[in-house]
């Protein structure tokens, strides 16, 4: 049976991989556009975060195309935010307009929870072994998708042929989607590494290095907001981010402990993983000498809104420029471009003045 879901960037490919192991399939979600965002804004309560509105708009567009069986990947627990157990409420939002609409949560806070969800959605015949294989495929694909996206963004800055990078990314994504075995995924990964290595490099180093932190939902929205931000890479700016669904899914208290420790001066007990990532990564970028930090989050995102004053404090203490981009209903591409351009200008000037000061000091030292 063909299900549908929201895109989460390219992560729907991993959801599709999971479903295919279970004999199900998933239609590819349409790219998010302005009309879809408008649909989401009209469907949602004004206080829902902008990411949530984009998701609702994309779901509505797919319902209008005749799809009815929705699946969504969500864990339960403090990380889950609003998408946890919202089936009843999604059905309330869409059920009146679309006969036969149903929403099924896949995923769970534990293996037992995930198995129970798969069985309730796809029948009691799902065995533990099937569940294990399905989630192994999901995690394998999420990992590889993250790697491809991250490396290709870096290569757009480092390579002298950005068009070749784009072509490589498209082929790599297609291969990940087609592959249905773990060995196959390993082969795609090896092929990608070799192909990436063969791409010609620019002779000049990156003009700037910018670290990105923020809400994982908006960071994974690749069709409009992040597409524009990542285009900075084509101007020779090295873009780095260290968060994403891959890391949210893989976070354990042990893995988070060192990052949490790093944030001790800024975050009190029990912060959510998203908050730890944003704060710790901003500190890392500052320590590693990045030129600036971009904080990207959806208007109405509760964890990231609460974190904004904390990041402002981090940036002040560390002396690193910070631009907070709150993406909301009135998001306009021109406005985003203008703010990014101004930020890049500021960072470029800051770097140039640092170089001038260094030159003067060196000259004085030599004299």
């Amino acid at each position: 049976m063909n299900h549908f879901t929201f895109s989460w960037g390219k992560n729907y490919i991993a959801v599709r991989g999971l479903l295919r192991v279970l004999g199900q399939d998933l239609v590819a979600p349409p790219a998010i556009n302005t009309a879809m965002a408008t649909k989401g804004i009209e469907t949602a309560h004004p206080f829902l975060c902008f990411s949530g509105k984009l998701v609702l708009g994309q779901l509505r567009a797919q319902l209008e195309q005749g799809n009815r069986s929705m699946v969504f990947m969500s864990s339960l627990g403090p990380e889950a935010c609003r998408c946890a157990d919202t089936s009843e409420y999604l059905e309330g939002a869409f059920g009146e307009d679309f006969d036969g609409f149903s929403a099924h949560r896949i995923g769970g806070g534990s293996f037992g929870g995930a198995l129970a969800n798969l069985r309730s959605n796809f029948g009691p015949r799902i065995r533990k072994h099937d569940c294990f294989r399905a989630y192994a495929m999901f995690c394998g694909k999420v990992d590889l998708l993250f790697k491809i996206e991250k490396q290709c963004t870096a290569l757009r800055c480092l390579s002298s042929e950005p068009q070749a990078v784009q072509a490589l990314e498209e082929v790599a994504l297609e291969r990940v989607d087609r592959t249905n075995t773990m060995v196959g995924l390993w082969r795609v990964s090896r092929w990608f590494d070799r192909a990436a290595e063969r791409l010609p490099r620019r002779s000049a180093p990156p003009s700037l290095r910018i670290g990105i932190v923020g809400g994982e939902h908006i960071l994974s929205e690749l069709d409009s907001v992040m597409a524009r931000i990542k285009r900075l890479a084509e101007k020779g700016i090295y873009i780095d981010w260290r968060s994403g669904f891959r890391l949210l899914a893989r976070s354990t208290p042990e893995r988070l402990a060192p990052l949490k420790e790093r944030c001790r001066d800024y975050l009190h007990d029990e912060p959510s993983t998203s908050e730890i990532f944003s704060c710790a990564h901003a500190l890392e970028f500052a320590e590693e000498g990045y030129d600036g930090v971009l904080h990207v989050y959806a208007f109405g995102c509760m964890p990231q809104s609460a974190l904004k004053p904390v990041l402002q404090r981090v940036a002040q203490d560390a002396g690193i420029p910070l631009l907070s981009l709150s993406i909301g209903d009135r998001f306009a591409e021109e406005g985003l471009e203008n703010r990014l351009e101004a930020f890049v200008d500021l960072l470029t000037e800051k770097r140039a003045s640092k170089r001038r000061i260094h030159t003067v000091h060196t000259a004085k030292g030599a004299a």
Partner: protein, 310 residues
Amino acid sequence: MVSAETPIRIGIPRSILHYEFGGAIASFVERLGPTVVLSPETNDDIFRRGKRLVIDELCFPIKAFVGHVAALAETDVDRIFVPVVTSHESGRVFPCHPRTRLADIVRALRVCDAGRLLTPAVTFDANGLTRDGFLSVGRALGASDEEIGRALPAPTRAARATEAAIVGDDRPVIGIIGHPYLVADPWMNGSLVDRLEDLGCASLTGTDIGIPLSPDGTGLHFELAAHTLVAGRRLDGMQAVDGIVFLLAFNCGPDGDIAGHLARTIRKPLLTLVLDELQSPAGMLTRIEAFVDLIDRTSASRVAATGGCT
């Protein structure tokens, strides 16, 4: 500390957690020995201080909360109490993120010297702070477990008495739902209870009818949204209740998520009042008057219809 000759003065913001836990923290701290100084009731000045400090998009109550801390910071209190609400005992419902981050927000904004802040991590359950929560508060004040044990509050059964009293009231009864710190803070809700009284109505809140802070079984993620939803459903099912006012703070994610669901499923007249920093008393009064008029007319036509039948 508890037996010190001059007890230390602990400032407690009269906002969010104070109302949420029904003042339990202030009473408990007082029983331990320190002198409790509550910030004044929310007023224009307090709110303006918070608003100046907090980023625009955080919800309305957070701005008020920060204003309360700023007001306390200007007094001679030794410490200011900003507990960190971490998790629910059940592990099935959760506090919203800004409420869990109050201490971080206050610290990052440098509302007062960080050394004056007391920020113990506390857990809660359906009835409020857990025993562990009180232990954490007490230990932060340097009290021994024995002293804490003596100061623990006794359970109360006042809620049902209020419900029984209102059932015999001849006036139209308006149910009020929303987060406790909106329902209980007159400045935040535009003196709703007083205005209803002036218009000849009685009011009944979720807390009055004994709805726990975090009722189970709604499937909702956020505990106070579950409180709002269950209170709404219960009041909707009570014959004595004529209509319901839903207090929704600007940019409150959890209650925003259920606002549409409530509007679709509540059968009694429902007025959703979005509370924000731009609210005008005149506009608020007009909406409440219109709602009460509607309730009166609905009741009158129901009486007329029933009279016609009998």
